[in-house]
Point group: C3
Chain length 344, copies 3
């Protein structure tokens, strides 16, 4: 790969020799000849001057400290992402349905699409142009998989779910499982049928083993460009806004609506029936119990400390009411002492 | 669907025209002609008077504000669940084993059961009447799947597990994986074999990607009517009582016993070897570290607030011991001042 | 199984009749003739004297209270693990590739290995001696599965991942999914390709539905003897040290390094780019936000209490800053009173 080509792919300014051949990307600390690295986090700036990399992606302000070929970009990490794309070997099989896949005759698979071995595609499903259904996936009845979307492997998409274009679903993802709807009949739970479906708009990415339930009456919706990490639970009738990114192990309860351009860090929990405005950011391990109507950063996670210290704090948390009472009591007594002093 | 038939299915009292044809359910806000809605949550009562729905399911007290056909029931949500059931289109394939399923000759599959493409059924397994094994499931050796139970798709049930009747297992569910048993031999961990199994009694529902480990010596047990949401971990030798419902992202550690008619909200964690009495309810994001012997509601989750405010609280939590010491000190000094005053 | 043989397997000292036949293991409370039990936890010591078990595994100090045959070992639980191993019936099918498996002609499967029905093995994959690929697994291109390793069922191992020897991967495990790498281009997220892979060294165990992402440039690494429970998230470029054990529902963010011989309890969360030293132990439901450079036990989880009590504490936590201010104020006033007294 010529460096000049990588510069073009990255939309970066080339400084140095565009003819140098780059064989692979590497971290700044470890890169050597034939490799390209990037510098974005200032704590790694110390590695720049001595790097043996054939090229480095940097921001304009770092150019004076760079003694190798450089691709200069305002956002080096974004340029890095684009350079990496040039090195992806996708291993996409030739178009067509593998003989060990099972495609119902009443399904439509575009002739440019791939369906790998072990996948089962039901009647009424429509697989778009250049879509790629990896091995051992399940595509239910009347499902739509948009153009250029990929189900990596072992993905399960149930009846009537609609997946947009250029979506990417990682292994173990389940889309369209029943929402958790139960009505009590005195003695027992009766199932509330879940008749809605799920819509993933274009360019949605869903991480491994994440689950997205179908809506009760209407649909669960992930808007264009929403990005979900692994092991996330999206309950029925949730709506996730455009370009919102959600980290692993987060759970979103039913009917909650998350705005556009939000971020939820890992291990977050959202109760049901609330709304998060656009540009809300929730830090790790926080529980959100009320609507957050203003953009901003919200938190409730506590950081680990040595266990003995924590044990004492945890006991105190349970007794905060008592502590508050003691303070009120002290305030009263001090006031009394002052009054007595004045009047005495 | 005639409204009179829906009334009968719901066990509700018909007010109005039983001959009106209902084509589908809809929410109260959006329902129009040919649609049925329900009113249960009082915050939606404002939509009742003007609804254009052909019928509404309501409680007796709302009847006077209803100007369309009504199904009157003491619990409208329960009646709604039953009405919805009339609109379910299951898409159940005809009975029999798909040619692309692999059923060991030493397995017994009832002739009314369905085994879809890509599923693998091992020797000794018994699949009951009207059971439905969806695509790409695994049913291990000597597994029992009771009558009318369904494995939706991509479900894995390992050797010797027994599933009751009318159970519903959603995609990605794993039943019978090894419990996490390890013994330290000084230097390394040695595996403690997990020889027990898992029993799901009748009418148990298990959500997508939930995992239920087999017992070490005895069995892990989910009692009749237990309902589990998605991404829940049930460790070895856990017992979950009848009609207990557990929301997503909850983890239950080994040998813990949960009583009947309990509810655990989302993201709850239970340590091992404890017992929860019947009718215990745990709110979201709580950790339970001791047995809860009394019915009631228990909590330890903290709700997110603006990050700057939280940062100050979180620092204070770590220093609660210091705060308590200051209070004790103040109490002493105030007491001293009072004493001095008296004696002075 | 003769008791003398079990003693040899366990490395325990036989006291009593080595010829007695043991049919199965059982708990100490319930064991009877033909059964073997163990005593490790002191709270069960009361059952020892009256047990009807044919043999009991005990520590030397309990021998005087034992009136049946005994296997004496310094660590009875470890001896128990080894005895249990004698009772495992693995159900391993005969070597070979099932006709309903799909193995690419350019994959190498050792002739002693098993590949069960429904599994798909891609070109360039190498399956080692005695390895066992259960039903409905996916083994990607150029994957290496070491000797004696087992993928139980429905496991997905993506391209280029290397699994060591004697590893055990439970159903639903995903290894090699893309790390969650995103770069913002002003308006939208662009994917940062994940070009690294995953290495599982020898004797690694991974629980059901756990996900392990591939590295961005370098590899995600689980060192020899690491043991992971179910539903754990391991993000890109994480390194987990030798013999570290991690309980269910834990999430580890990107580039974090965990030392050797650590334990993380259930529901723990680790932020990215931190380091945990060897022998660090984190208790359940704790969030780790900074590197932990000293061995020891760390915590931040709060235990559930009755809801009404908790509600009052939770409100107070939010107002801790106010409480601290009141204390400072009181300190000032009390100091003032004392000063006035002195000077008065």
């Amino acid at each position: 790969m010529r460096l000049a080509d990588l510069a073009a792919a990255a939309g970066a300014e080339l400084h140095g020799d565009g003819e140098v051949v780059i064989k692979e990307p590497e971290t700044l600390q470890q890169a050597g000849p034939g490799q390209i690295a990037f510098l974005s986090n200032p704590r790694y700036r110390k590695y720049l001057a001595q790097t043996r990399a054939s090229a480095v992606i940097i921001s304009p302000k770092d150019l004076e400290h760079c003694f190798t070929n450089a691709l200069v970009a305002d956002d080096p990490y974004l340029a890095w992402a684009r350079v990496l794309r040039c090195f992806v070997e996708e291993g996409r099989p030739p178009a067509g349905v593998h003989p060990a896949a099972v495609v119902d005759p009443a399904a439509q698979v575009d002739e440019s699409a791939v369906v790998e071995a072990g996948s089962v595609v039901a009647a009424g499903a429509r697989i778009g142009a250049n879509a790629w259904i990896g091995p051992n996936c399940v595509v239910g009845r009347d499902v739509v998989i948009g153009d250029d979307s990929r189900l990596v492997a072992s993905v399960t998409v149930l009846d009537r779910v609609r997946i947009g274009c250029r979506c990417l679903l990682h292994p173990g993802v389940v889309v369209g499982s029943d929402g958790f709807g139960l009505a009590r009949n005195g003695e027992r739970w009766e199932k509330v049928p879940q008749l809605g479906s799920v819509i993933l708009e274009d360019e949605v990415e869903v991480g491994a083993n994440t689950t997205i339930d179908r809506g009760a009456v209407h649909d669960t919706i992930l808007r264009r460009g929403a990005k979900l990490d692994n092991l996330i639970q999206v309950a029925h009738n949730v709506e996730i806004g455009e370009n919102t990114a959600i980290a692993a192990c987060t759970g979103i309860s039913g009917s909650t609506r998350i705005g556009a351009n939000c971020t939820l860090a890992g291990g977050v929990g959202l109760v049901g029936h609330i709304e998060l405005a656009d540009n809300v950011h929730v830090t790790g391990f926080s529980m959100v119990t009320h609507s957050l109507k203003e953009p901003g950063v919200y938190s409730s996670g506590l950081a680990a400390v040595p266990h003995d210290q924590w044990k004492r704090s945890a006991v105190r948390v349970k007794r905060l009411e008592e502590m508050a009472r003691k303070i009120r009591e002290l305030e009263k007594r001090v006031e009394q002492l002052r009054e007595e002093k004045k009047t005495g």
